[in-house]
């Protein structure tokens, strides 16, 4: 069984559209994350979220918003997509209150904005 799953795997859309990427984890973790990996393969934290707080990387545009219907899901909504949003987006989870708890990643969603 896949521990962290993301859908869709590929997403091609036009500038200005609004899109969502879904993420689910079945590990019972209390903290989930979204990362962006750009064309240079640099993996950058966007959000971390548990049932207590949302921590937002200050460089993330407010067009990006995480939505968590429950502890096992953290979806990423993106409004007014721009060319520069093209990247691979990774969801991850961990047991946030356990120091050193490793991150478990999904296999990514490749977003292409045309």
């Amino acid at each position: 069984d896949t521990a962290v799953s993301q859908t869709p795997k590929y997403l091609v859309t036009q500038m200005g559209n609004d899109k969502s990427i879904k993420c689910e984890q079945n590990l019972g973790h209390d903290t989930m994350y979204w990362y962006k990996q750009d064309s240079k393969k640099f993996l950058k934290i966007m959000f971390s979220y548990n049932n207590k707080e949302l921590i937002i990387n200050e460089t993330v545009p407010n067009r990006f918003s995480p939505k968590s219907p429950d502890k096992a899901h953290l979806n990423l909504h993106i409004n007014s997509l721009e060319l520069g949003d093209s990247a691979v987006y990774f969801c991850a989870s961990s047991q946030g209150d356990r120091e050193g708890s490793p991150l478990h990643f999904g296999n990514g969603t490749r977003l292409t904005v045309t």
Binding site: F42, K44, I45, F47, I55, P102, L103, N107, G108
Partner: protein, 112 residues
Amino acid sequence: SQKIEQNSEALNIQEGKTATLTCNYTNYSPAYLQWYRQDPGRGPVFLLLIRENEKEKRKERLKVTFDTTLKQSLFHITASQPADSATYLCAPRTGGADGLTFGKGTHLIIQP
């Protein structure tokens, strides 16, 4: 500002040799450091964690060292195999639930 440096150029190693990857950090005092492996088209996978009070950690053919004076971690793969070819990422962590910051990674190629 905090900075993590890895040799982001490809590292070519002959099969059977030991591969050594370097992770240097500045303006950090990490409580621990994690290493991950990433294969093309996949998400990173956790390999090892080493804490600031540990000098060395081993797991099968993998060995990690942590020198808080030099602000450096070394990641070794002994008896390397072509299947070890991947990108390896380091992530020093100061604690908290705000996610890991990763280095850019080192692309390791093990040649048969």
